[in-house]
Structure formats: structure tokens, C-alpha cells
């Protein structure tokens, strides 16, 4: 297979970036998208050109490191898949493919397709946990949890923190990400004691980082590789509202 690629190249955070054209041939349909980029980089390196910088690690859809906005969609054309889980058989021979970084004010570009998503870590640091020191726990089965709640909590906990939701959102909102963690812990009894502070503090940090607001567009849910549901945002809003009233 042959492809025309238009790839965002940007030397560093301060430099001006632009789309650069590349043509690549002899691509096997069973290659993953990242393996295709590996081949391109291999070609560039052998020609003495600078290879394209991109984030990737586990290559099995769980670490959340890979990103890429591919022809107008976060993680490419597939539903419920990360870029590393995208295979070239999803494209047609001769396709022109646009490859850009996840764009958001709160995700500054480091180089080419690599962005700085540390804002997510700072939001988690404000409350995305249960405050239990090592050794303080009671026996695990002393705290039964309704199976349905546990399943819903697991649905939310499946978030891999990749930032596709932010990249897909016209407002660059991080609400799907933040609400997934708030929901996981709100659905479990362990999260009870801190739920009010958690909602307030995480939402405040989210605003401080410069993420936008939710206007119910739903692009985040549509593009989420882990199918995190929009209802989590509703739950987060409820948590936040209750917390605001209680804390008054």
C-alpha cells in the first residue's frame, strides 16, 4: 500500500510548526499505524533527516502514551481504539493521511507530535485517590460493594489518561477525564469520605490548567478509546453541585 502523509513538524515548544508532506510505499495492511510511522522514520534516518517524534510505549492500547490526531480524529478513524491499535487495513491504498498532535492550550507541544499532558497528573494530585496510607486498610471483604456499582466504577476506571477527549472537544474540555476519576470513586464506598473535597479540588485544578467547559457536544465520548460515557460528566456535575452546597 502507498500513502501520502501530511505530518505536523515542530522543532520544539517555541518554534513555528507546519505540515510536511511525505510519501510512503510498500506498507503492509497488517502493520499498525505506529509501525508505519516506524518505517517512515527508518527511511528518514537513513536519508539523514530528522525522524518524527511521537509518543508511544506499550503498543497494546493500555498505557495511554500514544496520541496523534489522524485525519481529523483523535486516535484515527476507529471507534474505541488507540493509535497503536489502528491498523493500516483501515485505510485505502493511496489515501492522504493528516497526522497532527493532540491540540489543546493545556497540552503544549514538546516536539512534532509529542505534547505535554502533565496537566492531567496535576488534576489527579488534587484528589484522584482515596487518602489511605499503606498499612491502614481493613480486611478487603469487610467492605462489600454492590456488584453493579463495582462494574460501573470499573467502566469509569478504564480511562487511560491519553487526552483524546480533550483533543476531540472544540472547547478543549477535560471533563470526561476528570469525571471518570470522580465517578469511579463516587460509586465506591471507599471514595465516600472525601467526595466533596475531591469534586471541588479536581474541578478547580481543571479550570486552573486552562481546560474549557462542557457544552454537551459529545465528541469526547465518541472518540474515547475506552468508551468512557458522557453520563460520568453528569455525575461529576452532580458531585460538584452537592459539594458546593455542602461546603458553603
Amino acid at each position: 500500500m502507498k500513502f501520502n502523509l501530511k505530518v505536523w513538524r515542530q522543532k520544539n515548544a517555541k518554534a513555528q510548526g507546519k505540515l510536511v508532506d511525505y510519501t510512503i510505499d510498500n506498507i503492509n495492511a497488517d502493520m499498525s499505524f505506529l509501525e508505519m510511522v516506524d518505517v517512515l522514520n527508518d527511511n528518514l534516518t537513513r536519508k539523514g533527516e530528522d525522524p518524527i517524534a511521537f509518543d508511544h510505549d506499550c503498543r497494546e492500547g493500555i498505557c495511554g502514551m500514544c496520541s496523534m490526531y489522524i485525519s481529523g480524529r483523535a486516535h484515527g478513524p476507529h471507534h474505541a481504539a488507540t493509535t497503536c491499535q489502528l491498523y493500516m487495513r483501515s485505510f485505502k491504498d493511496g489515501d492522504t493521511i493528516y497526522v497532527e498532535p493532540f491540540r489543546a492550550g493545556a497540552f503544549p507541544i514538546v516536539k512534532d507530535l509529542v505534547t505535554d499532558r502533565s496537566a492531567f497528573d496535576r488534576i489527579i494530585a488534587k484528589g484522584g485517590f482515596v487518602s489511605v496510607n499503606t498499612g491502614q486498610a481493613q480486611d478487603a471483604n469487610n467492605l462489600p460493594v454492590d456488584k453493579a456499582d463495582a462494574e460501573k466504577a470499573m467502566d469509569a476506571a478504564a480511562c487511560i489518561g491519553c487526552g483524546a477527549c480533550v483533543a476531540a472537544c472544540p472547547n478543549s474540555a477535560a471533563m470526561l477525564f476528570v469525571s471518570a476519576k470522580i465517578s469511579q470513586l463516587a460509586l465506591l464506598p471507599q471514595g465516600g469520605p472525601e467526595r466533596n473535597n475531591r469534586a471541588i479540588n479536581m474541578v478547580n485544578q481543571m479550570d486552573e490548567e486552562g481546560f474549557g467547559n462542557c457544552t454537551n457536544i459529545g465528541a469526547c465520548e465518541a472518540e474515547c478509546p475506552k468508551e468512557i460515557k458522557l453520563t460520568n460528566i453528569a455525575r461529576m456535575n452532580r458531585e460538584y453541585l452537592v459539594a458546593s452546597l455542602v461546603n458553603e
Binding site: 509518543d55 510505549d57 506499550c58 497528573d121 499503606t134
Partner: protein, 645 residues
């Protein structure tokens, strides 16, 4: 050998750890605030250690090469975590988990360490549940368990097919909490490139800031390495692309002995290799073997027809199928341990009965499970895994059997540590997969998560205090100390030399070449002849690497190719040590199978001569390493032939 003191506490096996904890020296809270600890790596072991030590009051600096501590490769573990809770009332106990782990490791692990691991397994589950880890539950609201590779009791806790992710996010949450409180300073996108020692004690590290390329100096009263395993020495493995041996290898070159490097785990259920472009292999969780049946056709003719696309699995009648694990190991069947299942797959394929075009693949069939349980139950049980398989291979495992083959997955070898998890360098600790301690020659399924978290949450917080209590008068050493300057200079010169080669071949050319050598000669079956040849090949490769590698870009920028080159340079040196170790061990045990030592395909151990840990001391890149032996003494169990028949 006197220096290899494993410091195993006195007393009966079951009391050793308690005795230790009750007598370990303590550091008072005011002093803890003055003590700084460096933690390299933020996987289960690293994140758990960093969080737990910060909770105790130490000042922690944590490092990871990824963009966030949440990305460490522990996140990819699918199946589960073992714990001797006996919630199923099926006869489990600490002793049984201990025994299964020792036996699974083919009697090449330390009794005292493994017993401690089995003991702490119970606390891990409690801790993780308290953190809000959403483990699978039964309708009554209590925790669910399943049985997992090599185990006859149900002691594995799981969170769908994402157990590693959920446990890591629990530890990451605890770590972020401490970062938020100011007790941990986090350095993401930093790679440790040197350990700094002063007067024989580890006192810090040099790390490369991967964004700016700058070398930065960090002081610590103690240094903990939790930097994961070195499976990527094989190029193709189930490890993440960035997983590397660099931190551990630099420590090795600064005096930390490397133990049992040849013990590698080849996992039986991975998606087979399809092409040269392939960058990694994907694991299909071992839990699939609970319901899936492994088979190949009985005849070579049928296998050939399948390889050529003339027949499919359904064309092979029941009586013409060889369910070889059930046939050879009737009491464990498809659930036999990983090393055994992998070798059996290799045998079947070597016999010409592989079922993928390359010849290297066998079936994992769910047809019977679907008949017994129904499609919905099977789908629910393996939630993430089936779609993942289908996405990669374009085949639906509910309709046609999976195709699998073994792939490098985990390494049991690592830096030698004593009972306190301290390496042979004073004040330098090693945790999790990066150390050698608990799995012997083969690791059982669902034991890696257990070990990483036990080391991080429940062992190091006690053992490091025993050391740091004698360091309370050591003031923080400024990083303009000559030892820091010297270590930085060394790292800088190495980097300049590497990028200055400007040769013709890419970093991946070398990495792939190394991988081929390792897989061919130091993979599932090894011989003295092959290993001897491999050593020469690796030495030649090393020389060529340092004279012909081409790294684009410069040192003062974000340069992933350079980062990769540094890691491959270390893998090449490690590869040679693995081969030396495999050649030294004239026996077959666990993941180390020497073709010369077998009983009709079954590994033949030599307890008389090889019931020891081989700990290697580095001398120089061009010199032979020196072997130190730690005898393995079994006081509580009888060594026996590991039979799963």
C-alpha cells in the same frame, strides 16, 4: 563468597519476617524529614515505594522516562494478582502459596523471601481495595477470585483483563497524593544514566532530562531502582517499547551484582509474529487458558493444509486433534505453568504441526467453553481480550480458534538483592521485576503484580529504615561534590561518543540483530554450542555498534533515537552476560532449558551442582565477569522433580 550475605533472619520460616520487623531499627519522624530517597521507575514497585516512603515522612524524588508516572509498563498486566486469602474456602494458605511459588520457580528461589511474599500478599489486596481499586466482585458484593496458570486453588484477584492497570492507577493515585502534598518531587521524562557512589555508598543519580537533553544531578541518602525488566533484549517481546535495562545495568557496572540473567520467561499465549516490520508482540492473558483448549492437528499433513489455507480448524475432526497439554499433563492440562506450556508449543511446531504460515503457532480454542457456558458468559469473562485479538488479527475468537505462540514476557533475573532488597552496593536497593529475588527460574501467573507491590508497599518501608537509621547524621551532600561531577562526566563522554559515531546502520538494525541472536541461541532451548557462538556474535555486534551506529539529531534536544541507542548499547552488554550465565548453568530449570539436560523433553535439574543463585560481578566490558554463588538452602521443603503430570 563471604560478601554475598543474604541476611536472612533467624528463626522458623513463618516467624522470620515478623522477627525482622520487630527488631529492625527505626528512624524517628523528625529525622525522616531530613532523609532523601531517590526512586527510579514508577511502576507497581516504584510508585508503591515512593508513595509509602513519602507517607512515612521521607523526602522522595521519583523518576520515570515516560511522560507520566501512570504509564509504567505494569499497566499492561492483564490477568490478576495472587493472594493467599482463602476467600474461596478451597484450602489455600500462606504456606501453599509459598510452596506453589517455590515449586513454580523450579526450586531456584530463596525460601525466606518467597514466604514473606506469600504473607504480604494478603495485605496487598486489603490495601488496594481500600484505595478504590475496582476488583471483580460476586453478587453478594464480596471479591471474586479465579484460578490462574499453574494453580489448583482460586486465589487470583482481578479487574476484568486490566488488573495491572487498576493496581497501577491505585499506586499512582497514592503517589500523586504525595506529590500534591509536597512529599514527593516527580521527574517525568527523565532517564537515569549513572548511579553516584561516595565512599562506597549510593548517594544519588545522574539523569538525562529527555526533553532538554541536559544531564541533571540528584542527591539521595539512598537510591531505589524499580526500573522493570529487560525482556526487550530480545527486541520482540511483550514489553513496552521503552522498557529497558539501563538503570539496572549502570548500577551493575558500578558494583551491583547481576543475578541469574539467563532466567527469562517465554509466555505461552501471545499473538504469533507475522512480519519483519513488527515492533512488539502482544500477550493474550493466560487466564484464557482457564477456558481455552490448546491444540494442533495430530498429523503434519493436516497442519500443512491449514498453513496453506486449504483447511481451517473446523475441518479437523475431534479425533484428529492433539490437545497436547491435556495429553501430556493430565492433572494440570491447559493450566500447566508457563515454561512448560511454552516448550510444549515449541515441540509441537518443531514437529511440523504449527498452524500459521510461519509454522510457529498453535490453536487456543474456545468452542467447548462456548458450548458449556454460552457465548455471553465467555464474552463477559474475557471482556477486553477478544476484541483486542480481533482488532490485531482480523479474526473473531468466538467463531474461529485463536492462534498463539510463545513470546518473551518477563525476566526472573535481575540485580542481586539481600533479604532487605539491598544490592551489593550499600544504600542501593532494587525492587520489582528489576531484582532477581522471588520467582526463581520461572514465575507463576499473577505473581509479578504481587511481588512488585509487596516490595514497594510492605517490604522496603521497613528495610530501608534499618539502613537509614544509621544515616541520620549524614547531611544532604551538595551535587557539586566531585563524585557527582565525575559521574556526570562519564555519562556525558559516553553520550558524545555514541552520537559521534555517525555510522551507516540505524539503532533498530542493531537491536533487531541482537534480538535474533538472543532468540535463536538464548531463547526457549539453549545449547553449549549455540551459546558459545552467540557470545562471539554479540561481541562482534558490540564492536560494530560503537563504530557504525547512526543517530540523528543532537544531544541538546528531545531525541528519542538517541535515548533508544543508549538503551540498546546496554542491552548488547547485558545480552553477553545472559549468554555467559546460560552457558554456566549446566542444567535445565524453569525458563532456562538446556537441550543437553532433559528427560524426554522434561527439564532436568541438577540440584547437586546448581542449587545456587549465580550473581555476576562486572569487571570490564571486555573482561569476563566474576561468578559469586549464593547457595540456596531449603529447610522447609523437599526439592523434587517438578511434575505437572
Amino acid at each position: 563468597m563471604s560478601e554475598l550475605n543474604s541476611k536472612i533472619p533467624e528463626g522458623p520460616l513463618a516467624d522470620k519476617w515478623n522477627n525482622y520487623k520487630e527488631h529492625a531499627k527505626l528512624v524517628n519522624p523528625a529525622n525522616k524529614r531530613k532523609l532523601e530517597v531517590i526512586v527510579v521507575g514508577t511502576g507497581l514497585a516504584g510508585a508503591a515505594a515512593a508513595a509509602s516512603l513519602a507517607e512515612l515522612g521521607y523526602q522522595v524524588k521519583a523518576f520515570c522516562f515516560q511522560d507520566s508516572p501512570r504509564r509504567a509498563h505494569s499497566i499492561a498486566a492483564q490477568g490478576g494478582i495472587n493472594a493467599a486469602k482463602n476467600y474461596k474456602n478451597d484450602g489455600d494458605s500462606v504456606f501453599r502459596l509459598f510452596y506453589d511459588t517455590i515449586k513454580g520457580g523450579d526450586f531456584r528461589a530463596r525460601e525466606a523471601n518467597v514466604y514473606r511474599l506469600a504473607t504480604e500478599s494478603r495485605n496487598i489486596i486489603d490495601q488496594c481495595v481500600a484505595q478504590g481499586v475496582p476488583f471483580a466482585r460476586e453478587y453478594g458484593g464480596l471479591l471474586d477470585n479465579r484460578s490462574f496458570g499453574g494453580s489448583q486453588v482460586s486465589r487470583t484477584f482481578y479487574a476484568r483483563g486490566q488488573t495491572g492497570q487498576q493496581l497501577l492507577l491505585g499506586a499512582y493515585g497514592a503517589l500523586e497524593r504525595q506529590i500534591g502534598l509536597g512529599n514527593v518531587k516527580m521527574y517525568s521524562r527523565h532517564e537515569m544514566v549513572e548511579v553516584v557512589t561516595i565512599e562506597g555508598k549510593a548517594r544519588g543519580i545522574i539523569a538525562r532530562n529527555l526533553i532538554s537533553g541536559e544531564l541533571e544531578r540528584f542527591f539521595g541518602h539512598a537510591v531505589i531502582l524499580a526500573s522493570g525488566g529487560y525482556g526487550n533484549v530480545f527486541f520482540l517481546s511483550t514489553n513496552a517499547m521503552g522498557s529497558n535495562v539501563t538503570a539496572a545495568w549502570k548500577a551493575h557496572k558500578k558494583g551491583a551484582y547481576f543475578a541469574n540473567p539467563c532466567y527469562t520467561q517465554i509466555h505461552p499465549t501471545c499473538i504469533p509474529v507475522t512480519g519483519d516490520y513488527q515492533s512488539k508482540l502482544t500477550l493474550m492473558s493466560e487466564s484464557l487458558r482457564n477456558d481455552g483448549r490448546v491444540w494442533v492437528p495430530k498429523t503434519k499433513e493436516d497442519a500443512k493444509a491449514i498453513r496453506e489455507g486449504k483447511k481451517t480448524a473446523v475441518d479437523i475432526k475431534e479425533e484428529d486433534r492433539d490437545y497436547y497439554l491435556e495429553r501430556k499433563y493430565p492433572s494440570f492440562g491447559n493450566l500447566c505453568p508457563r515454561d512448560i506450556a511454552s516448550r510444549a508449543a515449541k515441540e509441537a511446531c518443531d514437529d511440523g504441526r504449527g498452524i500459521v504460515p510461519s509454522g510457529l503457532g498453535v490453536f487456543l480454542d474456545f468452542a467447548d467453553a462456548i458450548k458449556r457456558l454460552g457465548v455471553e458468559v465467555v464474552k463477559a469473562r474475557y471482556g477486553e481480550l477478544f476484541p483486542m485479538y480481533q482488532n490485531i488479527t482480523n479474526e473473531d475468537p468466538l467463531k474461529t480458534p485463536m492462534k498463539i505462540y510463545p513470546a518473551v514476557h518477563y525476566v526472573m533475573g535481575g540485580l542481586w538483592v539481600d533479604y532487605e532488597l539491598m544490592t551489593t552496593v550499600t544504600g542501593l536497593y532494587c525492587l520489582g521485576e528489576a531484582n532477581f529475588s522471588d520467582h526463581g527460574a520461572n514465575r507463576l501467573g499473577a505473581s509479578a503484580l504481587m511481588q512488585g507491590l509487596a516490595d514497594g508497599y510492605f517490604v522496603i518501608p521497613y528495610t530501608i529504615g534499618n539502613y537509614l537509621s544509621s544515616e541520620i547524621f549524614t547531611k544532604a551532600i551538595p551535587t557539586d561534590h566531585p563524585a557527582f561531577a565525575e559521574a556526570e562526566k562519564e555519562a556525558k563522554e559516553r553520550a558524545e561518543k555514541l552520537i559521534g559515531v555517525k555510522g551507516k546502520k540505524t539503532v533498530d538494525d542493531f537491536h533487531k540483530e541482537l534480538g535474533k541472536i538472543m532468540w535463536e541461541y538464548c531463547g526457549m532451548a539453549r545449547t553449549a554450542e549455540g551459546l558459545t557462538k552467540a557470545r562471539t556474535l554479540i561481541q562482534d555486534l558490540r564492536k560494530e555498534f560503537w563504530s557504525n551506529v547512526n543517530i540523528p539529531g543532537s544531544l541538546d534536544e528531545f531525541n528519542p533515537e538517541f535515548d533508544k541507542a543508549g538503551r540498546v548499547a546496554d542491552f548488547i552488554e547485558l545480552g553477553e552476560l545472559m549468554v555467559i550465565d546460560a552457558l554456566n548453568r549446566n542444567e535445565s530449570c524453569g525458563g532456562h532449558f538446556r537441550s543437553e539436560y532433559q528427560d524426554a523433553g522434561e527439564a532436568k535439574r541438577d540440584d547437586e551442582k546448581y542449587a545456587y543463585v549465580a550473581a555476576w560481578e562486572h569487571k570490564a566490558v571486555n573482561a569476563d565477569p566474576v561468578l559469586h554463588k549464593e547457595e540456596l538452602i531449603y529447610e522447609n521443603i523437599k526439592l523434587q522433580v517438578r511434575s505437572y503430570k
